[in-house]
């Protein structure tokens, strides 16, 4: 059955997702739902001050409560993990606060009890005293060392590009990245016109509908963690490092994830759960509430300053970008965002003279990390708003201005790396075409005015990263795929099975994809940054090819003629005399990479592939209320060759709607470091009724020559253009420019009233 040759390929099929049946019947298992025998529940006591020295914690009343198994604070963690600082980029985050707290919501102590409600009630009996310290919340203010969040930088050593930061003191700058191309000062001096604008993006968060959850089960020489993580390999190696154990004593198993979007990367609850299980000597589960997600990880708020010099022909000849990333209290992956996304800050434009200065800042807020786009959506909001503002100031059509300055395949990007397989032209053309750019349309009347806008962005996949895969062909010919890519909803299991099936000529739905388990599934860097389809896709392809070659060798060994069609099961029977044996194929993929020069940021090979996408919108603005209605939204993406076109479409539609929330209304309200809207009732995410009346997803098929079957990643691309396209359309409709997200009615109305000469009172 499994070996029946399939007419037509597996790649390019809109196959239903392999796990869909489990998800529509309620059988799919999530970490939030799992329970182990003898398991206890932990609930976290959190800091109420944004920055303070921890003077004391009184846990006596909590300990005395019936049903409470134990109450643990930072010093207790040291008994099992002597140096309890973790993080992917820096070892700066304590498992529980030790000497200081650095943000409101930071874990300070944990109650472990037989019942989660008992644990929660006991948490309310804990009291902590702090000596409050001055705090810093704004990323630009944090450039000054007046308030220091950390005494010293502690790079992890995982990433070579961060090692030089070790031991730096008297700074909140966790990472600074600089790029220099040409002579930007000379070009500004020669420019016919110079434009400079500043843009700001707000603090938003991922809101996976399944909040974070992890269960740890420790024994004397073995630790098993069940976690909804996007990166089981990293969790294993980081837990092993914290414990001083070899990796083979740590096992990380990953059930289904109820969404991730970058939140569930690196260590989140796992180290704390492990410490609690070792202290309590029982399995311990930590499952956060929706409210607690606001104190785990968010996207980076940014301030981005862009300055462009344009010559008399409307060519941008100089661009300077200054980007300040508000990383919150702990670095998480922020220092990498600063460089890996920072170098795309000039946008998809061919500019001879570029200067980029990109800074990761510590502040006293919830830590910031990766969120669907790894910083790129914030940058695109800045450079594509700026592009429209410059074009309008020069009285050049914004699409023509983009065409005149577009970075095209074959030309070097600001890093010096030549753009390849990136359909910038086609994406821009389709955007303009789909929104009928340049054609007359109903611009509205009375208070309701209509406008159109578009924007496109570029992203480089993070490099260098490694993926490993294995395929086991059983003696009946059926295949099992082992890969560490976590299917958090993006459909990777289905896509990987399609790639393996394409090579092995087996229907994808007949290939079993093994659940993630670090004892079984090989290494993968992590499910992040749209890297999986490309990197793991290659590893899976190579593993399948390896298995195929081994099967061919077996056929020759048992005397089959070349090209014989003998079923695989028959080959095994011939070789072993019965249904016995295995063939195991393995594949490893790591692309070539050249690190950027530490001063100029220049490198001939910064990434194995580029992502290009954009969004075009038509909006309706109510001049009396500031409400913006999106009449039509079109996403256009260069997705390489689609492995599963329906899944690509879902990714585009989902990514753009998420970014629409970040554009129009999502915002963590923070007062004095305290989040004041930490619940789904107060922090609104897009619902069905926020979906634009017309939404179209268009893919520009553009084979990625070095990709697996011509494919590349598509999970983030639909986020790129949404915010600036809407901001540009608002200006097109009513002539006001909003440079701070979100573009909510208040922001738009304030801008309208300023334009009308009757500004509203400030907040």
């Amino acid at each position: 059955m499994a070996t029946t040759p399939v007419p037509g390929g597996q790649v390019g099929r809109s196959l239903p997702r392999l796990e869909a049946r489990d998800k529509v019947t309620g059988r799919a298992e999530y970490a939030h739902t799992m329970r182990l025998p003898g398991m206890l529940y932990g609930k976290i006591f959190r800091s109420t001050v944004p920055h303070g020295r921890l003077i004391g914690i009184d846990t006596a009343a909590a300990r005395a409560m019936p049903g409470v198994h134990g109450v643990y604070a930072g010093e207790d963690v040291r008994k099992v993990i002597p140096d309890p600082y973790y993080g992917p980029a820096f070892h700066d985050q304590p498992i529980l606060a030790l000497d200081k707290v650095r943000f409101v919501g930071e874990p300070v102590a944990v109650v472990v009890a037989s019942d989660p409600h008992v644990a929660e009630e006991a948490v309310a009996l804990i009291a902590a005293t702090y000596e409050e310290l001055p705090a810093v919340f704004d990323e630009v203010a944090a450039m000054s060392p007046a308030v220091l969040v950390h005494d010293e930088l502690k790079p992890a050593g995982t990433f070579a590009d961060l090692k030089h930061l070790k031991g730096r003191k008297n700074t909140n700058v966790a990472r600074d990245f600089h790029l220099r191309l040409g002579d930007v000062d000379k070009a500004f001096a020669e420019a016919a016109a110079v434009f400079e604008h500043e843009f700001r993006t707000q603090k938003v968060l991922h809101v996976p509908l399944e909040p974070f959850a992890a269960i740890a089960d420790a024994s004397d020489n073995r630790l098993t963690v069940y976690s909804g993580t996007q990166g089981p390999s990293f969790v294993r190696s980081e837990l092993a490092r914290l414990l001083g154990w070899p990796e083979n004593r740590v096992r990380v198993k990953v059930p289904c994830l109820g969404g991730g979007f970058g939140a569930k990367l690196y260590i989140k609850l796992e180290a704390l759960a492990a410490a609690l299980s070792m202290l309590a000597r029982r399995p311990v589960k930590l499952a956060l509430s929706m409210e607690e997600q606001f104190y785990m990880i968010t996207r980076h708020p940014t301030t981005c300053r862009i300055k462009s010099g344009v010559d008399k022909n409307g060519r941008v000849i100089a661009r300077k970008c200054e980007v300040f990333w508000n990383g919150g209290a702990y670095a998480d992956i922020g220092p990498r965002v600063t460089q890996k996304s920072g170098f795309t800050a000039p946008g998809p434009y061919d500019i001879a003279n570029v200067a980029i200065d990109s800074y990761a800042l510590y502040t006293n807020l919830t830590p910031a990390g990766a969120l669907r786009g790894f910083g790129v959506p914030q940058l695109v909001f800045a450079y594509e708003s700026h592009t429209d503002m410059v074009a309008r100031a020069l009285k050049i059509d914004p699409v023509k201005f983009r065409r005149d300055n577009l970075l095209r395949a074959g030309r070097p990007q600001a890093t010096g790396t030549v753009l390849k397989d990136a359909a910038t032209d086609a994406v821009l053309d389709r955007l303009a075409q789909c929104i009928d750019w340049g054609k007359p349309f109903d611009r509205g009347s009375g208070p309701i005015r209509r406008g159109r806008g578009l924007a496109l962005g570029i992203k480089a996949v993070i490099s260098p990263t490694t993926s490993v895969a294995a395929i086991n062909v059983a003696a009946d010919g059926s295949c099992t795929l082992y890969c560490g890519t976590v299917d958090m909803g993006q459909g990777s299991d289905t896509a990987m099975a399609q790639i393996a099936g394409e090579v092995l000529n087996i229907a994808a739905q007949d290939i079993a994809v093994t659940p993630r388990d670090t004892d079984i599934t090989p290494y993968d860097m992590g499910t992040l940054g749209s890297r999986s389809l490309f990197h793991m896709g290659h590893a899976v392809r190579l593993a399948a090819l390896d298995a195929k070659e081994k099967l061919a060798a077996m056929a020759r060994e048992v005397g089959e003629p070349d090209g014989s069609n003998t079923p695989v099961a028959e080959l095994f029977r011939k070789k072993y005399g019965m249904q016995a044996g295995n063939v195991i194929g393995a594949g490893t993929y790591k692309p070539d990479y050249t690190p950027p020069d530490s001063k100029s940021g220049q490198t001939p090979n910064v990434t194995p592939f580029w992502m290009v996408a954009g969004t075009a919108v038509e909006v309706e603005v109510d001049c009396e209320t500031g409400h913006v209605r999106i009449v039509k939204l079109v996403n256009v993406a260069d997705c390489g060759r689609a492995i599963n076109p329906r899944i690509v479409e879902t990714q585009l539609s989902g990514g753009s709607l998420m970014q629409l929330g970040f554009t129009m209304f999502e915002k963590m309200n923070i007062e004095g470091g305290q989040v004041t809207n930490a619940s789904l009732a107060d922090y609104k995410i897009p619902g069905m009724l926020d979906v634009p009346a017309t939404i179209e997803n268009v893919t520009v098929e553009n084979r990625q020559e070095n990709g697996p079957f011509g494919a590349k990643g598509v999970g983030e691309v639909a986020t790129f253009g949404v915010s600036p396209a809407i901001a540009n359309a608002i200006e097109d409709a009513v002539g006001v420019r909003v440079t701070v997200l979100p573009l909510n009615p208040e922001a738009v109305l304030r801008a309208l009233r300023v334009k009308a000469g009757s500004p509203l009172d400030s907040e």
Binding site: G258, G655, A681, G687, I695
Partner: protein
């Protein structure tokens, strides 16, 4: 904590339990009965992931005490498929039309739409949007969910004809 005797049917099976008054219906279904298909997201009635049917009407299981379900008939996502495992038309359409990604909101979507399609045999896309306006999905952008609901309505109509 006072305990209460509760008798109810869940997916056609009768259950009698003694439970604390504070236990909500979602926790009762998930922990006491082991029906973990009902998911808990926000725990305050916003996301809709925990939606189940009580006497055929959709309710947020996180906002209802289990004792309030005494004497009533509850249907959860586990009760949708046929006894032989065959998917019902709505489940089949969600699978076929990619009406899901991570799947966490899916049980609530299915239960809300089950009630809706029973009362709306030939719904428009606008009616579907309205019906699930109170169920949040962070992954899909909703397009596949609307397509699935409309396809299921057509299938139910065709099967019933």
């Amino acid at each position: 904590m006072s305990e209460h005797a509760v008798t109810l049917t869940v997916n056609g099976v009768a259950h009698a339990r003694t439970i604390e008054g504070r236990v909500n219906l979602a926790d009762f279904l998930r922990h006491t009965l082991g029906l973990t298909g009902t998911h808990v997201g926000c725990e305050h009635g916003v996301c809709g992931a925990c939606t189940v049917l009580v006497d055929g009407r959709s309710v947020r299981a996180c906002l209802m005490f289990a004792v309030q379900a005494d004497g009533r008939a509850v249907t959860t996502v586990e009760g949708l498929a046929a006894a032989d495992g065959g998917l019902d038309p709505l489940q089949a359409a969600f699978r076929e039309h990619h009406g899901l990604q991570c799947g966490f909101c899916t049980p609530g979507m299915l239960m809300t739409l089950t009630e809706f399609l029973r009362e709306n045999k030939t719904p428009s896309a606008a009616q579907v949007r309205e019906a699930i306006g109170g169920n949040l999905c962070r992954c899909t952008g909703y397009a596949g969910i609307i397509a699935a609901a409309l396809a299921a309505a057509r299938r139910i109509a065709a099967d019933g004809a």
